[in-house]
């Protein structure tokens, strides 16, 4: 009996080993990768199909904020240009709105702060699994889009950032459903104070129904485009390009 059990143990162990080496080979196969990628689109389509596209992310009372809002990714852009802007307290920082728009914009932080603003206490979910709740203040993106007059051909808003990973600039993109969503904003305040450098000063994207890597920090330019093919590796964002993270980060 024990002999038989031991044999089975060896068999199971060997089987698991085979399964494992097999799994990694399967994981690397292009056909499997494209099939798994399909799953990503099914999930997005299913979400968009059964849920309200305009649904608001939950907003929390101030008392439910995280005691400390964890910064992630780059916490200090490395460029001399950014250091100069930081030293000048972003007095000359400009946000540009370009691409498929009737009236390209170039706005100073002072002009942005003078626009109608929105404050929301929302939850930030990292793709890794943790969450932090914070209060954001900023300009709703749709006000900027209206001011710029978006061409109907535009399908995506691309956010160009001042930070980089080993020389590759950070960027992100969202579709027009999220770009016009009332909670989507370029935030300049966190928890009632100026946005800290670690959290993306002077301006970061908040797109509340998606994961943390979509929340581009140090935003310099919003570009309206009809295709993502011409940016980076063409997958619509830094992490999408370098590590195959899902472009739709609502899951």
């Amino acid at each position: 009996m024990i002999g038989r059990r031991a044999l089975m143990g060896v068999g199971l162990g060997g089987g698991a080993g085979l399964l494992l080496s097999g799994c990694d080979r399967i994981n690397a196969s292009p056909a499997v990768r494209s099939l798994l990628g399909e799953g990503e689109w099914w999930s997005m389509a299913a979400q968009r199909l059964v849920t309200d596209r305009a649904a608001l992310a939950r907003e929390y009372p101030l008392s439910e904020r995280s005691p400390f809002f964890r910064p992630n990714g780059n916490t200090m852009p490395g460029s001399a240009d950014y250091a100069n802007h930081l030293a000048a307290r972003f007095a000359d920082w400009r946000l540009e709105v370009t691409g498929l728009v009737a009236r390209p914009l170039s706005l100073t932080m002072r002009q942005l702060r003078a626009m109608p603003r929105r404050t929301q206490v929302t939850r930030h979910d990292c793709v890794e699994g943790w969450s932090a709740i914070g209060q954001w203040t900023g300009v709703p993106l749709r006000l900027l889009l209206r001011a710029a007059g978006v061409d109907p051909r535009a399908r995506y808003a691309v956010f160009h950032c001042a930070d980089d990973f080993r020389g590759i600039p950070y960027y992100e993109s969202i579709d027009m459903v999220d770009a016009y969503h009332p909670q989507t904003m370029l935030a300049f305040g966190l928890n009632g104070r100026a946005l800290p450098v670690a959290n993306g000063a002077p301006l970061r994207l908040r797109v509340e129904r998606q994961l943390g890597y979509k929340q581009a920090k140090y935003v310099r330019r919003v570009q309206l485009v009809d295709s993502l093919a011409n940016f980076g590796a063409g997958k619509g964002g830094y992490w999408e390009d370098v590590a195959d993270y899902q472009w739709y980060a609502g899951i």
Binding site: N27, R33, D125, G129, W130
Partner: protein
């Protein structure tokens, strides 16, 4: 399909857990907040901490085979750290569980499988019968001496309860808490957040449901392995002697 999906989901889920091997209760939770469960490593020793208790787990979880990941590579899909790929596998095979799972639900209710084979009768649920079944299982005699005389072709009461627990508790809990972790779903169906007490609570419950499923699968496999050879052996033995060995004493009764 369901079994394959569950195994892929468990293994890719462990990889996703590795990205942030801490669990919290409530709406938020990150590194500066108190975790109720944590798997980690210090130098070359792994540990598991639950509440205030910490156990060394070097070689099993936390630190194994020279790597400081929460769950070692042989347990995860893919085997080397890759959160993006693990998410692709997890979300793809989630369809493979949820779609047939819902179909099975309807089938088992509509065709009476649930009522006929799975829901225990009042007789079976008496403390006396439950205790007898527990004793039978403890002695690894899964099919013997069924009090209702139904024999081995039917499920016994512990089997029924654990199947019901998996099909109608653990699996739906895993699916719903999984959906509760999606910020997109949260916006559309915020009642899920209220149901589970916040996203981080949902993440903890998701892990607990997965652990229960893993435990069920391991016990189930072990019992099949134990019951199979046992039956064979007994039939050989009783074929000649008509009496089984008593597993407690090893003597013929």
């Amino acid at each position: 399909m369901n079994a394959v999906s569950v195994v892929v989901l468990l293994m890719s889920g462990l990889m996703i857990f590795n990205a942030h091997p801490r669990l919290y209760w409530g709406k938020y939770g990150a590194n500066w907040d108190a975790a109720w469960l944590q798997i980690g490593s210090r130098g070359q020793s792994g540990y598991l901490r639950v509440g205030g208790f910490e156990v060394p787990t070097t070689g099993v979880v936390g630190y194994a085979n020279g790597q400081g990941y929460a769950f070692p590579s042989w347990m995860t899909i893919p085997s080397s750290y890759n959160l993006a790929d693990a998410r692709e596998w997890h979300f793809f095979f989630a369809w493979g569980l949820v779609v047939p799972g819902i179909a099975y639900w309807f089938w088992s209710i509509a065709r009476g499988h649930l009522r006929r084979d799975l829901v225990p009768s009042r007789n079976e649920m008496t403390p006396r019968n439950l205790w007898r079944d527990v004793k039978r299982h403890a002695r690894l005699r899964f099919h013997e001496g069924d009090p209702a005389g139904e024999g081995a072709r039917r499920y016994n009461v512990l089997q029924k309860l654990s199947y019901l627990g998996v099909i109608f508790l653990a699996l739906p809990l895993a699916a719903l808490t999984g959906m509760t972790m999606s910020p997109g779903i949260n916006a559309a169906w915020p009642w899920l957040l209220d149901l589970f007490g916040g996203r981080q609570s949902a993440r903890s419950l998701h892990f607990i449901a997965a652990a229960a499923l893993a435990l069920f699968i391991l016990i189930h496999l072990a019992m099949v392995v134990l019951a199979g050879p046992w039956n064979e052996l007994r039939s050989i033995v009783t074929g000649w002697y008509r009496v089984p060995r008593d597993p407690a004493t090893g003597e013929r009764t």
